[in-house]
């Protein structure tokens, strides 16, 4: 299969999957034993008011009608509805909360790469020695520590006890928000104080998230590095008398880095999922916290909107990974289609 055909096919497959996600979330929402309209309207609301809300949000219509109306609004007007709890259009809410989540996930992502890949390489080079054990235990501890706990602990240490780092929010300094990404906006404002402020706010949440998610990267890097070190050309190079350092840095490293790179999309997906807990604890004004809050209120438009956006990001990042992978290893493309 040609690469372009493969990509077209994969993109086309996104449509039924996204539709499935939409149906699934509606089905769940449909069976939740809640009275969303009553919850939104408050305890003293009269029956007609609740009824008006139910009609407005089509809560009494059969599920397929609800999905149909939703799809129509999304496709024709790019309208995700109005969140009954924040009173704002879901589209605006997501637009406001997306940059915070994305910025956090990106920072954690690069931190995880910067720490995870070197750790994996060192681990492989010193296989079965104390350094290897140490770095593996560090990586596994990261994977084993529940995010909500490490976040609490770091907050306790660095904010409550030591007072070195702020424990909540993205910034304390007012700047014009052009993009919604505070780090970028502070540069655009040419305000280095604001940049520093945003940066120190980023440290704790990003470090927590990176520590949690780098374990997998360490493992993959270590595995691929070990494999390469035993590959014939490396052994030949060594046999030819090339110094170990040169072999490692010129030949082995370059090839060993490919498998870890191909899993970065997955890595990003994890980070995005991890933000739900992390944002709740760090009061990070992002989508994850928005989603957690919306579920509690059975805020259907918000939950559906969030789910669709995240599913889209997950699918796209995995698509990019798979395309990357298929460029490297064309067999995957063939494997993708079976009679």
């Amino acid at each position: 299969m040609r690469l372009s055909t493969y990509i077209v096919r994969r993109v086309a497959m996104l449509v039924p999957v996204l539709l499935g996600v939409l149906v699934l979330i509606f089905v769940i929402a449909y069976v939740i034993p809640a009275d969303p309209a009553r919850a939104w309207a408050g305890p003293r609301a009269r029956a007609e008011q609740v009824q008006a809300l139910e009609e407005r949000y089509h809560l009494n219509d059969p599920i397929y009608t609800q999905i149909g109306i939703y799809l129509k609004n999304v496709l024709l007007h790019f309208d995700l509805g109005v969140s009954p709890t924040t009173g704002r259009p879901v589209r605006d809410d997501l637009k406001a909360f997306f940059p915070a989540t994305f910025e956090l996930a990106m920072c954690a992502f690069f931190l995880a790469i910067a720490l995870g890949i070197p750790l994996g390489v060192i681990s492989a080079l010193r296989r079965n020695r104390p350094t290897d054990h140490f770095s593996r235990v560090v990586a596994l501890t990261g994977v084993s520590t529940p995010l909500f706990w490490s976040a609490l602990l770091l907050q306790f240490l660095f904010y409550f006890k030591l007072g070195w780092l702020p424990a909540m929010g993205r910034s304390t300094i007012d700047i014009t928000r052009y993009t919604g990404f505070v780090l970028i906006d502070s540069v655009l404002n040419w305000n280095w104080t604001a940049f520093g402020d945003a940066a120190i706010h980023m440290i704790l949440p990003a470090a927590t998230l990176a520590f949690y998610s780098m374990g997998y990267l360490v493992r993959i890097t270590r595995g691929s590095m070990l494999e390469i070190l035993e590959a014939e050309y490396v052994i030949t190079a060594r046999a030819k008398g090339l110094p170990r350092k040169i072999v490692i840095y010129r030949h082995a490293l370059k090839n060993a880095i490919i498998p870890p790179l191909t899993v970065l999309g997955v890595e990003f997906g994890w980070l995005l999922g991890g933000t739900v807990l992390l944002e709740t604890i760090f009061a990070w004004p992002g989508m994850g916290r928005y989603a957690a809050g919306s579920i509690v209120m059975v805020d259907l438009p918000a939950v559906v909107g969030y789910t669709l956006v995240v599913a889209m990001i997950m699918l796209l990042s995995n698509l990019v990974v798979d395309i990357l992978y298929s460029v490297i290893d064309p067999r995957i493309r063939v494997g993708g289609k079976r009679r």
Binding site: M13, P16, V17, L18, G20, V21, L24, I25, I28, A29, V31, I32, P33, H133, R136, V137, L140, V143, S144, T145, P146, L147, F148, W149, L152, L153, F156, F160, Y216, I220, G223, E230, P259, T262, V263, G265, V266, G269, W270, L272, G273, G274, V276, L277, T280, A291, A292, I295, V298, V303, Y306, T307, V310, A311, M314, L315, N318, V321, R338, R339
Partner: protein
């Protein structure tokens, strides 16, 4: 919470599958390799200790883990309360001992539902191929694309918050991983000559599934299972932390961390110790799983096989 499934889009299992072969016949060698990995032994012992506490913890607890004794609240760790007391004056250590069973129950129930379901669907997809495969795989894609914690929260909200419902919710997000794993394995096995041969002899699909496909899936499933045990425990704790799991006064560990959260400044021990407990247990299962993976790694086996055989010969000669 670890996103269980999304890794399956990845090459992780491709890598795994490449390395793993049905080595079930050489259990002796497997255990030999396992025993000689220090980290795996440490992990195994931790897991065993945890299982022991889960079974007998309630009996070991020095205080009543449920009954409030509010005059004694917020006591820091001391000789009489080694891990301090909580808001209601209950002994944190007693609660942890009595609560261990809930975590292990969570892990076992989730895997007991997710694994058979995933294996069944994955096996069917791999075995039959065609549109059946396409449909099942698109459904797994769908579950994998879903933000899993949010999905679990929504399910748990739909069913009403309780520990058992949280487990059901987690099973729902966990099975696609196993479906993918088994499908991949089934596809690979299907092409082999001995399955072709069996088919030409007129063997039924059921026969092929149980005789050829499932045994081949055993080792990757074993590895994934051990690693997942830890992750499920974390995930269940996360749901409880958010209020979608264990109901008070059940001393589930994640719930205990959550209960202590607003008292961090005054009584850090309320959150720190239960969280530490989770880390140790999950780390134990992860070390063990990592060890099992290594012990099933063909390259490592080749290296160790020689010493193992030598030792076997020498031990049998001394008999």
């Amino acid at each position: 919470m670890r996103i269980p499934g999304s890794m399956l889009f990845s090459s992780r299992y491709r890598l795994l599958q490449k390395r793993l072969h049905p080595i079930t016949k050489e259990w002796g060698l497997t255990f030999y390799v396992l025993r000689h990995s220090k980290l795996a032994v440490v992990g195994g012992l931790t897991a065993l200790a945890f299982i022991f506490i889960a079974l007998f913890g309630s009996l070991l607890a020095p205080y009543d883990p449920i009954s409030a004794n509010i005059q004694d609240r917020f006591q820091p760790p001391s000789a009489s309360h080694p891990l301090g007391t909580d808001t209601m004056g209950r002994d944190v250590m007693s609660r942890m001992l009595a609560g261990a069973q809930h975590s292990i129950k969570a892990g076992l129930i989730v895997l007991a539902i997710a694994v058979p379901l995933g294996v069944l669907l994955g096996g069917i997809a791999g075995l039959f191929g065609g549109w059946i495969d396409e449909v099942i795989m698109r459904v797994t894609d769908m579950f994998l694309a879903f933000p899993s914690l949010v999905l679990a929260m929504a399910f748990s909200a739909a069913l009403g918050p309780s520990l058992f419902n949280a487990m059901i919710a987690l099973s729902v997000v966990w099975w696609p991983m196993y479906a993918r794993l088994v499908r991949g394995q089934a596809l690979a096995v299907r092409e082999t000559s001995y399955v072709e041969a069996a088919r030409s002899r007129g063997a039924s699909s059921l026969h092929i599934m149980f005789k050829h496909i499932l045994p081949n899936c055993l080792s990757p499933i074993l590895v994934t299972l051990t690693l997942d045990m830890g992750w499920v425990i974390t995930a269940a704790a996360s749901l409880s932390f958010l209020g979608f799991g264990a109901q008070p006064p059940i001393p589930e560990w994640g719930r205990m961390v959550s209960d202590g959260r607003i008292y961090m400044l005054r009584a850090w021990w309320m959150s720190v110790f239960p969280g530490l407990g989770i880390v140790l247990v999950v780390l134990g299962f992860n070390l063990l799983g990592d060890g099992i993976r290594d012990s099933l790694d063909p390259k490592l086996r080749r290296l160790t096989e020689v010493t193992w055989k030598r030792e076997k010969i020498s031990s049998s000669s001394t008999d």
